[in-house]
């Protein structure tokens, strides 16, 4: 396992939305899913996960239901709402544009136009 990347400011919400967009997850599941997709390259502060979940739920972007976990225990599962899906879509577009612009600036090698 190489050195893990610190999460960029403000991106946790987007990652959570993406994680639950693939199917309902409990809090710990969200954590695992993000780490798994990132190939264990991202380090997520566990203490900031739940406040982010509650914030998203408060904003109506995700909704939660109590259900059974893999090992038959009661757990709260989060799923994406319609509003959340729209939000994710917009965030992804923004992110991609931003990444393109920043990538273009950083990849510029010569001085001339």
């Amino acid at each position: 396992m190489g050195k893990q990347l610190e999460l960029l400011q403000g991106t946790l919400d987007m990652l959570i939305l993406k994680a639950v967009s693939l199917g309902p997850l409990h809090g710990y599941g969200v954590l695992l899913r993000i780490q798994q997709i990132s190939g264990d390259q991202l380090e997520i502060q566990q203490g900031s996960l739940y406040p982010a979940l509650y914030r998203l739920e408060h904003q109506g972007l995700i909704a939660s239901d109590w259900g059974e976990s893999e090992n038959n225990r009661k757990a709260r599962f989060y799923r994406l709402t319609t509003a959340g899906r729209k939000k994710l879509q917009k965030e992804m577009e923004n992110w991609n544009r931003m990444a393109d612009v920043i990538g273009a600036i950083l990849s510029r090698e010569t001085e001339e136009a």
């Binding site: 566990q46 203490g47 406040p51 408060h58």
Partner: protein, 896 residues
């Protein structure tokens, strides 16, 4: 969906807090266990794994807090915590809490009561469109007194005025409406057909008057007010178009006005309106004193001011005056029309009183706020350590200020609630006086405007008395106060200066109220000592009222009042009774005769002009009112209709007549060769009000007058009262009198009965009311200021216990310590008194118009009041000073 999500989440967090916390805990527990299981799979022991998982997640309590924070509940939670903490703090300092609450209750309560009164009078809601454009228009006579306008004048105003959009006129008359339960009295107005358009109000149902309905024959139409329609006509839905009978004449109902509409606005009786009929007298080209006159109301064009309109009408009036007959012109000063905002005419008598009282309650409120701020400051100082500890534990300065501010907000909210109750109580107590003096519509209840003002007042109070001390308390450097013990924390110089400044202003402001109160009390005292010139004990007056329409062409004196008088004279307990047309201090009807008395037949000097009040009364009046004769005699039983006509004049008349010779040689012609010989001069008494001098007067002997005499109409026919002297307490006779009135003539039942003492009391009403209210305000203000002084000194003494202990230990005399502390208090008191004297010098002008027999800058009152304040202040200071001198040095030093 998106909008409702936050509300649902808030609702859950607030209403089901426990449930939500349990869920969070369960969720986190699940997380910890799953994580631990994963770590155990990598070979960690269970305990190790659980510990590790918990550390990584953070404590559950913190997570719970973060949860609420995520949902935007932090401000709410903080507020709750602040409120809970504030209540705990207040409970732990009951003396402080109770003092502050009492002071705020007094300050806010007085303001709430006053604001209710202001709201019902000065800010009176008028049921018209843009009421600020409405102005009353009137004539000014040569005494600058207001009188109604002649029809010819107002027609000219209507034609020529540029500053007024429209002018309407009205006149009240006595109306009796026939209903199922008989004749009911209504307040009837005959109005010009455009009055509703001037007021800008449309009827609820029906139409307003047409211009053609002011001509004879078409004028039998009527508009009803909502109360008349609802109560007297039982809300008959089809009343428009029907006929009702007013004063025994049929009128067709053309409209019902909306609920809440009243005109005139200060008339609280059920109202009806009919068109003012234009008679031949209206069209006469020449003007004389008996020409029809009206009250006039106009609507200003936008941008025009009442004074500009008044000036314009005076210009028009000036041109008209030249058309007046000679004898009327003499009365007319150059500018003789005026305009006043309609709203002001409703309260013009009480306006100054109200403004003075507003000033009084505002001052009292300022005193209360200064006092509470002072207490808060002192308390802030005592709590400095606690605040420092909170700061050291990480509370931001803003947070501490907010906490302290919450406390003052709670205090002022509680104070407002109590103040509201107090104001209701006070309004209840003064209910009768307020209603007679200010013409208020029944009981005042707090309306949204009053409650809003109260709320604003309590917030401002909290800011004034809480925010600054809180800010000061939070500003103090942390380490400093942490290192020192509470007793030593001397507090900054700034703070002490501030506290002293506030005590000084409190004392100064109280002095203002005390001076105002002193001046009014002296006024009341002076008024009571004015020799009235007549007796008030055992005198009862009966003012009979007959429905005028029934008795229009009937000599009421002969047919109704004389028989009533005979019955009254025969009543057991009545020693004498008479009919009189004028009674002292009654704002009743007064006929004024202008006499031109030739001084000397040979001289060319202009004749002396005397305006004299006319009165007709029986010989018994002298006994009833105890009138004193200067010369000659009063009427007697020998003055019968067949004997020589006699009259008496008063001393003021005699003085004015002096240039023409002896008044006893004068005779007054009544027309048709009848000449009344003057047989006596009575001593002056106050006819209209106690604070006005006597007016020239001519009295005729009532029983001698004939219906054909010129003076019969303006006296005995116009207004009559029955005055009687009673053997027992006058009140005991009232039921018997009521019975008699009913037996003589059922129409007489509406008569008013009053004792002379009540009449005198009512005539002093304005001054009495102001004096009573000011007594209350000044008394409370003094108490509050003294409490402030006492509190500050007691606090300073407590702060200096150690210092006192050392002084005493070093051999200071105890009386020296008392002297030193009293000296300090004395300096504060003197500074406050100096400030107060300067302020009251300015404030006394405000009440100057209420004063009688005392100058606004009366040195005696000022000195007496200042002395009282200083004495009370030193007494309040003595208690803590004495306590300081009793300090046991050992005890004081050991407390450290």
């Amino acid at each position: 969906m998106r909008l409702t999500a936050p509300f649902r989440s808030w609702w859950k967090a607030l209403a089901h807090r426990r449930e939500m916390e349990a869920e969070v805990e369960a969720e986190l527990q699940f997380h910890v266990e799953r994580y631990a299981e994963d770590m155990m799979r990598n070979g960690m022991s269970r305990e190790e794994a659980l510990r590790h998982a918990r550390v990584e997640l953070g404590s559950i309590a913190v997570q719970q807090e973060k949860n609420r924070f995520s949902r935007g509940l932090r401000p709410w939670d903080d507020l709750q915590a602040d409120v809970r903490y504030a209540f705990r703090q207040l409970r732990h300092a009951p003396a402080f809490t109770i003092t502050v609450l009492l002071v705020l209750t007094l300050g806010i309560g007085a303001n709430a009561a006053m604001f209710s009164i202001i709201d019902a009078t000065l800010l009176h809601w008028l049921p018209y469109r843009q009421p600020s454009q409405l102005v009353s228009l009137y004539l000014l006579d040569d005494h600058r007194d207001i009188s109604w306008a002649y029809y010819q004048d107002l027609k000219e105003w209507q034609r020529r005025s540029q500053r007024l959009q429209e002018i309407a006129y009205y006149d009240a008359f006595e109306g009796f409406l026939e209903t199922k339960s008989g004749q009911e009295q209504v307040s009837a107005q005959s109005v010009s057909s455009n009055i509703f358009s001037v007021l800008g109000v449309q009827p609820e149902r029906g139409r307003t008057f047409l211009a053609s309905e002011q001509t004879s024959g078409n004028n039998k139409v009527i508009i009803l007010s909502e109360p008349v329609w609802r109560i007297m006509l039982h809300a008959d839905p089809d009343v428009v178009g029907k006929t009702v009978r007013l004063n025994d004449q049929p009128y067709t109902v053309v409209a019902i006005m909306p609920l809440g509409f009243a005109f005139p606005a200060n008339d609280h009786d059920p109202q009806v309106w009919v068109p003012a009929e234009l008679t031949p007298a209206h069209q006469k080209p020449t003007l004389d004193w008996s020409a029809p006159r009206y009250q006039v109301i106009g609507r200003l064009r936008s941008g025009a001011t009442p004074s500009a309109a008044g000036a314009e009408l005076s210009g028009i009036e000036g041109r008209l005056v030249s058309q007046y007959p000679e004898e009327m012109k003499a009365e007319l000063p150059p500018a003789r029309a005026g305009a006043m905002p309609y709203r002001e005419t409703l309260v013009k008598d009480s306006r100054t009183a109200l403004l003075a009282l507003i000033a009084a309650v505002s001052i009292m409120w300022l005193i209360a706020c200064a006092n509470v701020a002072n207490l808060m400051l002192a308390r802030g100082m005592a709590r400095q350590r606690e605040i420092a500890v909170r700061g050291a534990l990480g509370a931001s300065r803003w947070r501490v200020v907010r906490q302290l501010f919450t406390e003052s907000l709670i205090l002022s909210a509680l104070g407002s609630a109590a103040g509201l109750a107090l104001s209701q109580l006070a309004l209840g107590i003064f209910d009768r006086t307020l209603r007679t003096q200010l013409n208020l519509p029944g009981r005042l209840v707090p309306n949204p405007a009053v409650l809003g003002a109260l709320l604003a007042l309590s917030v401002v109070s909290a800011v004034l008395c809480g925010l600054f001390p809180a800010w000061l308390a939070a500003r103090a450097p942390l380490e400093h106060s942490l290192r020192q013990s509470t007793m030593q924390a001397g507090g900054g110089r700034t703070r002490q200066r501030l506290q002293q400044a506030m005590v000084i202003s409190e004392i100064g402001l109280s002095l203002v109220l005390l001076v105002a109160c002193g001046l009014l009390l002296r006024t009341v005292f002076a008024l009571r000592r004015v020799p009235l010139g007549f007796r008030t004990d055992h005198v009862l007056m009966l003012q009979p009222k007959l429905p005028r329409y029934k008795y229009r062409n009937i000599d009421t004196n002969r047919t109704a009042y004389q028989p009533l008088l005979q019955r009254v004279q025969a009543l057991p307990g009545v020693s004498s009774a008479t009919i009189t047309t004028l009674l002292p201090l009654r704002k009743g009807f007064g006929a004024v005769l202008t006499l031109n008395v030739q001084t000397d037949k040979k001289s060319t000097a202009p004749p002396v002009q005397i305006d004299a009040q006319l009165k007709a009364a029986g010989p018994e009046l002298q006994d009833i009112l105890g009138l004193r004769m200067v010369r000659g005699r009063f009427f007697s039983q020998q003055d019968t209709p067949d004997s020589q006509l006699v009259a008496v004049v008063n001393r003021t008349f005699e003085k004015l007549y002096m240039p023409a010779g002896d008044v006893m040689n004068y005779g007054i012609g009544l027309g048709k060769g009848r000449l009344a010989k003057i047989v006596g001069v009575i001593d002056d008494f106050h006819q209209t009000s106690i604070d006005r001098p006597a007016f020239p007067e001519i009295d005729f002997c009532g029983p001698q007058l004939r219906a054909t005499d010129g003076v019969y109409q303006p006296t005995l026919l116009a207004h009559v009262e029955i005055a009687m002297r009673t053997q027992t307490g006058p009140e005991q006779l009232v039921p018997a009198l009521r019975r008699t009135m009913l037996e003589v003539n059922p129409d007489l039942q509406a008569g008013e009965i009053q004792t002379m003492e009540q009449v005198v009391e009512d005539s002093m009403g304005n001054q009495l009311l102001a004096a009573h209210l000011l007594e209350v305000f000044a008394g409370s203000a003094l108490l509050v200021a003294l409490a402030g002084l006492y509190g500050l000194l007691a606090y300073l003494v407590a702060q200096r216990t150690r210092e006192m202990g050392i002084r005493i230990a070093l051999g200071a005399q105890r009386h020296k310590i008392i002297e030193m502390l009293l000296g300090q208090a004395g300096r504060l008191l003197l500074a406050g008194a100096a400030m107060g004297i300067v302020l009251s010098y300015a404030a006394a002008r405000l009440i100057a118009s209420f004063l009688y027999g005392v100058k606004p800058h009366d040195v005696g009152t000022m000195l007496a009041v200042t002395a009282l304040l200083l004495a009370c202040g030193l007494a309040a200071a003595y208690v803590p000073a004495r306590r300081a001198s009793r300090v046991d040095p050992l005890e004081a030093l050991r407390t450290e």
